[in-house]
């Protein structure tokens, strides 16, 4: 019986491949659309988010340090979510994407400040998404000059309009030159895969219904799971081709590096492709005709595009939008791609995203198999 299942699934896969190969137009679109989008969107997009998660490594707890921190909060750019006690902790938090900024207040900050020795304050920023950190960093620079003005009355006060009482050192990690295309291109990889994968599988079942071939398919001893696998597998390959094309073009046109493991990127991209194929297939079993299926695909694609953190910084969105965003595969994939390509993140740093993608896929496949109509009713 188990063996029979593979035979039938294989029959379905072969059939889908032949049909796919014969549909030259769609095949062409699957290759050209990604390249076109890559070139079109490869340049620039900007935004100004607030409430970015920030960790503080306070090696001094004097008044000036406290004043500066509350002034930082008052800008609404920073949410101090962590108190850390070592540089290693900061490194780990930034790498896994849990924080956007880390502020390190040096030992004897207040004392040195009082003595007018211009102590250095270190700010570390995750610059993979330059659009996110531009605003906060400018705000910090202004703050350096003004935040302590009231506390430092009298002799301590620097001359009006003179330099700040302490030096703000900003370290940008991962993308220090703030090259937007470095950020856009990895995001685009996910967007393009979402669009094509969801649309093409969304048509999978409705096409059979509309062409009347469903009646014959249903009258044969093939199970819904087998039909589903047969329709999904060929597109994994199409997805792989798109992936290779986009990555190759991104490397050639924009010099986007792959800092982390290419193998890991390939593996997780495959997971992402399967997640999208699953949701597309689910639409396909719900929709009554091809037009409805395409509409559903677009209804899914738009929030993916807008709420995943690709187009607008994720942390700049209101909370409810972030909740929706965290259900969407593209959100997690954007983090995975940025993580691996720009930060050199490892599997360990991505576990959360991988679990999210896996759960999403399983849920979608479950719905699809139960929704698949076994009769013509």
């Amino acid at each position: 019986m188990k063996f029979g299942m593979w035979k039938r699934t294989w029959a379905m896969i072969v059939k889908e491949f032949i049909q796919l190969r014969r549909d030259r137009m769609s095949l062409g679109l699957m290759i050209f659309i990604p390249l076109l989008q890559l070139i079109l969107f490869g340049y620039a997009i900007n935004m100004n988010p607030h409430h970015l998660p920030t960790a503080v490594f306070a090696r001094d707890h004097g008044t000036y340090a406290r004043t500066f921190l509350s002034a930082m909060k008052a800008t609404r750019y920073f949410d101090i979510v962590r108190e850390v006690h070592s540089d290693e902790e900061i490194d780990e938090l930034i790498l896994s994407g849990k924080i956007q900024f880390a502020v390190e207040i040096p030992e004897n900050f207040s004392r040195d400040l009082a003595r007018g020795q211009r102590p250095q304050m270190l700010v570390i920023a995750d610059a993979t998404d330059p659009a996110t950190i531009g605003g906060p960093i400018s705000a910090l620079r202004v703050l350096a000059g003004t935040a302590l003005a009231r506390d430092m009355a009298g002799p301590l006060r620097g001359g009006q309009g003179s330099q700040a009482p302490f030096e703000l050192v900003v370290h940008q990690r991962y993308n220090p030159e703030e090259i937007t295309s470095l950020n856009i291109v990895p995001g685009l990889l996910g967007t393009i895969l979402t669009l094509t994968m969801v649309v093409f599988t969304a048509l999978a079942v409705t096409r059979e219904t509309e062409r009347g071939t469903m009646e014959n398919l249903l009258s044969m001893p093939i199970r819904p799971v087998e039909v589903m696998m047969g329709k999904i597998v060929p597109y994994i390959l199409i997805g792989a081709v798109q992936f290779a094309l986009i990555l190759g073009a991104a490397h050639l046109l924009f010099n986007v590096p792959v800092t982390g493991s290419l193998l890991l990127l390939v593996a997780l991209s495959t997971l992402f492709i399967v997640a999208n194929l699953s949701i597309g297939y689910t639409f396909s079993t719900v929709a009554r005709n091809q037009l409805q299926a395409v509409q559903m695909a677009i209804m899914f694609f738009l929030p993916s595009l807008l709420l995943s953190g690709f187009l607008f910084p994720f942390r700049g969105m209101p909370e409810w939008a972030q909740y929706i965003g965290s259900v969407l595969p593209l959100t997690h994939f954007t983090r995975i791609v940025r993580g691996i390509m720009l930060k050199g993140a490892t599997f360990g740093d991505m576990v959360q995203e991988v679990v999210a993608l896996g759960l999403f896929t399983l849920a979608a496949l479950g719905v699809a198999v139960t929704r698949f109509r076994r009769t013509l009713d």
Binding site: R8, R22, R211, L217, R223, T375
Partner: protein, 314 residues
């Protein structure tokens, strides 16, 4: 192996009763009972929209009856559809193979889904039986209508089913191919295959072991061709000679005459009350036309029934 293989010739391969199916609030098949023995060819007739396809789909496990129960080859048509689909060959009324696959690819797909050994070889053999050798790489969608039907039938027979449900399998097929098809069906039946076939052709109806005439989702009459004719109690006269269309108009309304149908150069005049017809036409027998008492044909019976039951739409 199906549980019915060892059973005797008299058990019912199709055994359904009380089948009822509605779409929205329209009942399309109503309390329909059908039994077909092994090795029999059962003809399913009825006007367009009378519910033939709907009934066949229920028997193939593709539609759930709203009421009633049934088995095909001993498998329940609502709960054992998986086994049903393995052993029943269903040929749809409209071509439902893949038009963007070649003839060979379609047959190979069917063979693979049915887990036949050597799908390629089986497909090649089927192509040779069809007489399509040399054209096997042509797209199925590019075949002419009749050839599509023949391909669909051979795809349906390929997995070696024990029961065939054929929905108008010869629509659009030329007379020679139709004869070949029916000879083939009779050979298969002789080997123990059971066949339920819907058709609008009278010559085909006559080649069935048993017939059922469906109207508005109900079986109006059933039996062998001979029984159907006898049960109709119909009398038919044929008229030949000049001015037949003039005559047809004149006699249509006479008492006892229920249908007047032109057949080439003759008119068929039928009714169920032989005495009243004779009385009505007695004055015309000496006219310029030649009147003859004729054998009642199946066609007379069905045209008569369509007239009585309306167009058959449920």
């Amino acid at each position: 192996m199906s549980p019915t293989m060892a059973a005797d010739e008299n058990e019912f391969v199709i055994d359904a009763e009380g089948l009822t199916k509605s779409f929205g609030n329209r009942t399309v098949v109503r309390d329909l009972t059908i039994r077909v023995r092994r090795g029999r060819i059962f003809g399913f007739l009825g006007a367009n929209g009378s519910g033939k396809t709907t009934t066949i789909r229920m028997l193939a496990g593709l539609l759930r009856p709203d009421a009633g129960r049934g088995t095909c080859l001993g498998y329940d048509i609502t709960t054992q559809t998986e086994m049903l689909k393995r052993h029943v060959g269903y040929m749809t009324q409209h071509f439902s193979l893949y038009t963007d696959l070649s003839i060979r690819q379609n047959l190979e797909f069917v063979a693979r889904v049915h887990e036949l050994p050597h799908p390629r070889r089986q497909a090649r053999a089927a192509i040779e039986r069809l007489g399509l050798a040399g054209r096997e790489d042509q797209l199925a969608g590019a075949l002419s209508g009749g050839w599509k039907q023949r391909l669909a039938l051979s795809a349906c027979i390929l997995p070696g089913p024990e029961l065939l449900l054929l929905d108008e399998p010869t629509a659009g097929v030329d007379p020679k191919a139709r004869r070949d098809f029916w000879n083939n069906i009779h050979d298969l039946a002789a080997e123990g295959m059971t066949v339920l076939v819907s058709t609008h052709y009278m010559d085909e109806a006559e080649r069935c072991h048993e017939l059922a005439y469906l109207s508005a989702g109900q079986i109006l009459t059933r039996g062998t061709a001979q029984e159907v004719i006898e049960n109709s109690h119909l009398t038919t006269w044929t008229v030949s000679g000049p001015d037949l269309s003039e005559l047809a108009k004149r006699i249509k309304t006479l008492p006892g005459i229920e249908s007047v149908t032109p057949f080439g150069t003759t008119l068929h005049v039928s009714g169920t009350d032989a005495a009243r017809i004779e009385k009505s036409i007695s004055g015309l027998l000496d006219g310029p036309q030649k009147w003859e008492r004729a054998e009642v044909t199946l066609e007379d019976v069905f045209i008569h029934m369509m007239g009585v039951a309306g167009d058959g739409e449920a």
